[in-house]
Symmetry: C2
């Protein structure tokens, strides 16, 4: 058995309260006593039991992180951002994958509650009433990350996906593209990918071009590849705006296969600015938002909530900008 606070107290000839005090720096302790305690701690190789601590103090210094799937490259970057900031503030994270399934998500929120996490970072393709109910029931500080709550009931960190898609379209129009197609899947009604598509469609109407959409079963490389192969065969648009970088790379390759040059014949613009966008040939122009920052900001937001720091807004909107690379660098206007 390893040493307890009681062993340290005895070794140092003080009470356990004093040991607790020097460990947590929660009250002034005489220098000399403090030294004795520290020595005892070192001698016994004492490590406080975080579980006991959690039970007594009702704070566990751990936060729950629920994501659809860490193995998606951009999610991993985002989680890294979360973990780094958590570490800065001495928090640990319990990571769970939900596969975006509501029942699974609800269950996980429940278990996080049982685990007495101090707070929750929640990511989901789209927020449902069940989620809200469970949050309420668990009485847990929650920050949504990359997950939109149209009614703004829960604090959240997002980008303006509608605007971002519109910006991307404007950019392509300015480049001289007369026709643009959006490439993405049809997810739930409020899903992130839907917002991007809507942003595109609205902007298309605004600038007076047809809001044509190439639908892919899933938003992955393979799925997009087959959808694009058939879609691009006849009358390909001048530009492709894709829901994410992975689909954009599929677009790049589909064009190649059909002997359409990028950017000469077709321009391609991705979304998310993942590492992938720089590992493609031609390099990919993409709507940039640092995934790492996304996670970092969300976690920082949660620490503010947990430490009762003043908060300017409960609905953080992160900036986005277009990262211009080779896949759109051609001048069609001349």
């Amino acid at each position: 058995m390893s040493a307890t606070i009681y062993d340290v107290a005895r070794e140092a000839g003080v009470s356990m309260a004093t040991v607790s005090r020097v460990m947590n720096d929660t009250a002034v302790v005489k220098e000399e006593t403090k030294k004795r305690v520290l020595d005892a701690i070192a001698k016994l190789q004492y490590r406080p039991n975080a579980i006991a601590r959690g039970l007594a103090s009702k704070r566990t210094k751990t936060i729950g992180v629920i994501v659809p799937d860490v193995s998606a490259a951009f999610m991993a970057e985002l989680v890294r951002g979360i973990e780094d900031v958590a570490h800065m503030y001495q928090y640990h994270i319990i990571l769970c994958n939900s596969d975006g399934q509501v029942q699974q998500e609800v269950d996980l929120i429940g278990t996080m509650w049982e685990k007495q996490v101090d707070g929750l970072l929640f990511m989901s393709p789209s927020l449902k009433p069940e989620h809200i109910d469970t949050f309420e029931q668990a009485q847990l500080p929650v920050v949504l990350c990359r997950t939109d709550d149209p009614e703004k009931r829960i604090p959240s960190v997002n980008i303006n996906n509608r605007q971002a898609a519109a910006d991307a379209l404007d950019y392509l129009i300015a480049k001289g593209c007369k026709s643009v197609a959006y490439v993405g899947a049809k997810m739930g009604e409020r899903a992130l990918s839907d917002q991007r598509r809507q942003g595109f469609e609205e902007a298309a109407v605004r600038v007076g071009i047809a809001p044509s959409v190439i639908e892919t079963p899933e938003e992955t490389y393979g799925s997009a590849m087959s959808a694009l192969h058939s879609a691009l065969r006849i009358d390909p648009p001048r530009a492709l705006l894709t829901v994410n970088d992975e689909v954009a790379v599929a677009a790049l390759h589909a064009c190649q296969d059909l002997h359409l040059r990028v950017p000469g014949d077709v321009m391609v613009i991705g979304f998310d600015n993942t590492k992938l966008s720089q590992m493609a040939r031609p390099e990919l122009t993409t709507v940039a938002q640092s995934m790492y920052d996304y996670g970092a900001v969300a976690m920082r937001f949660l620490t503010k909530l947990l430490r009762d720091e003043p908060i300017a807004t409960y609905t953080v909107v992160l900036p986005h900008q277009i990262e211009e690379r080779a896949s759109t660098q051609a001048n069609l206007l001349t």
Copy 2:
């Protein structure tokens, strides 16, 4: 405040011991009593406090996972494998990033100990004596994953990197390549990338070709790209065997830039079979090992340790095989 076991006991008109019994199924309880307890639980929306449970039972159903960096695509896949199996066995994971720094790793092992995790999954570029000491001190069941312990002191799950690199070389030789260069960084002495390089060098000597190595500062796309640009300019080898898929994609593009055709002029073979290998053009031949399985097997191994299940071997060696794709599909022999 939410309900406690005591509230449930009172509501059901039984003692808390009985409530505990029905929750944990740890002794026979009369059907009728059980029903009363279950009803009370439902009525009060009772959720057991996992922290209190952990303190009393000394088991937290939590395992620590220490990785160099989740944001590396293959690590994320591996972590997903861990989490899925953990979930199957009702464990949760606390995920930490160490950036592969020994001090950081030692600190994390310590905090995981404080957190009373039931076990540890440890990944590191190379195992140092400090790690072993800390494991011993923490008295924690540990499984190394993708981390070699040459002395076999700690249970581990690995592939045979030496053999895998040798196999890759043999494959290229059989394809008719007369010269092959290895591309990778010089990491620590026992690092995984070093084992791959050594396997290559030994095999090269065996088959009688020069063991030429192209060294990259880091094993990333950008870093490899610049190293390759200068290295391939004069007298490029017939084939490139790279330390991982990311570097392999860099190799693909570097060749392209220098007007070397792949696989016609230079064959390229990667390592790890990440999603990336299928998203490259030409698609990448690679030494395959499912990263997901890597994590899943390691976690399953740990559960065996924790449940005292019989264990066949403490040093699990996962199989690998060459996944043949376009980047090596040319016949040089005719």
